[in-house]
Symmetry: C2
Subunit: 355 residues, 2 copies
Amino acid sequence: MRTQIAAPENFEAEVVIKAVDVTLEGFLESKKNVAEQSGMGHLLKLFAEFLADGKRIRPVLTVLGWQAAGGYEDSDSVVRVAAALEMFHAFALIHDDIMDESDIRRGRPTLHRALAEEEGPDRSEHFGVSAALLLGDLAFTWSDELLHTADLTPRQFRAVLPLVTEMRSEVMFGQYLDLRATGELTDDVDATMTVNRYKTAKYTVERPLHIGAALAGAGPEVMDAYSAYAIPLGEAFQLRDDLLGVYGDVGDTGKSRLDDLRAGKNTTLVALALRACDAARAARLRALIGDPNLEEAGAAEVRDVFAATGAREAVEHMIDDRYRQALQALDAAPFAAGATTALKHLARTATRRNS
Amino acid sequence: MRTQIAAPENFEAEVVIKAVDVTLEGFLESKKNVAEQSGMGHLLKLFAEFLADGKRIRPVLTVLGWQAAGGYEDSDSVVRVAAALEMFHAFALIHDDIMDESDIRRGRPTLHRALAEEEGPDRSEHFGVSAALLLGDLAFTWSDELLHTADLTPRQFRAVLPLVTEMRSEVMFGQYLDLRATGELTDDVDATMTVNRYKTAKYTVERPLHIGAALAGAGPEVMDAYSAYAIPLGEAFQLRDDLLGVYGDVGDTGKSRLDDLRAGKNTTLVALALRACDAARAARLRALIGDPNLEEAGAAEVRDVFAATGAREAVEHMIDDRYRQALQALDAAPFAAGATTALKHLARTATRRNS
């Protein structure tokens, strides 16, 4: 199948999403036989549903990064690399949910919960975790397979592989920083922004753009221009995510708005509130955030402190500042006008979204 | 550094092991700075110790597979690919230990236990599992990085990558079969041998030989000859492992000989015993195997049943048969005489080992 990706001035995310969906569905279809032989047919079905629900942010950025850097030929290869990033993200989310002990993702039970439940009461929770762990590992392997079979030229391969390695290492280092911080609340706002940078800004925005650009043969000037746009935008994206984790509607986000609080996520929002609190209120926040049994009443109390300390408003300001920085970076960037318009639009939706 | 790998008639596993060790140490050294920046310096140290303890079976087979298929130039690239397989194996073991809830590996606490303990009592067991899960994911990423930086020709790359993907997928499918079987004992000997084939015969023996051969540009005839040797040998290797899991000395194996029994590992040994038992004894075996609190007295009782049913002896016979098949396959193989000698020697040590 050859994909028709329009020129950058007519960039439509929907077209990319559709092409990536088709690629991923075809790939999973090719795994059906061997999965059924290993009694994994059911797992593959669950995984396909999980994968179908993704927002495809990274693939869209990959294709846009390729186009804005002048790419126009052989879009099938680019779409397949983009699909590899989405597959890698599925791996990352599955393992993330195990580490966070999350119950809900994308409006459904997380994979480790679903796998434990469907096996019936004779199977322990540990079975669900083990099967999900393994399914995540398979997704990692499949992400590599998609990449290796993207029919890249040796030159594209050499340009892309180091960036893929960087992207993977960065998100794992970020995850580890996050893991250590979780449950140990701090008012160190900078520390929370470091996690944000590794876990989100680089992983979700900068590296997909870089990978797309590398496929188009872009040089260091273009790469730097992407970084100048991507880092503030990615930070803003994560800050929005932090707010949605506490204020979002489960119908929009697909995640319970108690999960982050129960898990004791050490977000920038929390650090700002702790910094602005008196000792009594800080102690109360520390008691509520990280309590695995926190209910809506406790969450409402936390939200009151976020409002009273101005933490919520401060995060909104941080998002605005970064949104503006990203737009400014585009003004100076060596991209085609059409691509700049698409990147501006994307910056807006990434920071103003409610899901 | 250039490695001097002797011609196949003088093949010495020790030389390969040393070269792989140097490659892995250098690689981890290059990760030190970024790991310390993320507060992972301590994890990296633990991981380096873990990695240093490996037996390097897969790297030795990779280099031997390359030599026996006529490879002789640019052994540095081959050693780096071999090191990538060892790194991948570290990933597989770390995740395996999480799934099996094992306490000891290679004579030390498993990584998830060590990580939980060293963090002190305020950190839960879950922290140890999460950090180990992440460290395993990093090892997977690093295995790719070693492979991508092995300076392979485009032709070698194209030949090796599909085999690496196959190897990874096979071990994961095997792991899943094993996971499903664990705790649900069966007398289906064939089912246990299917797990054996995926988890060990293909992963540990066949694919490393194939990958080495692919680096030397080998054709299908050579690949088939390796399979004919590798599958029976790999099966025998796993059967030996099953025996060592129950009869081995922790001083030799580095593993408690209660772990497999406590975890309810559904080995061929267990299936043979269940098949030969009367109902009362079978019920007793099912009560003992899989009991997480099993002590040495219970294990001794299990061993008595393995002896009385002839299951232990039957496994020894299966090992012998497969050892002979592997040797016969070598007689018909198109390898240099020196390489055949080395492969024969390897077959002997893999099936007669006590660790």
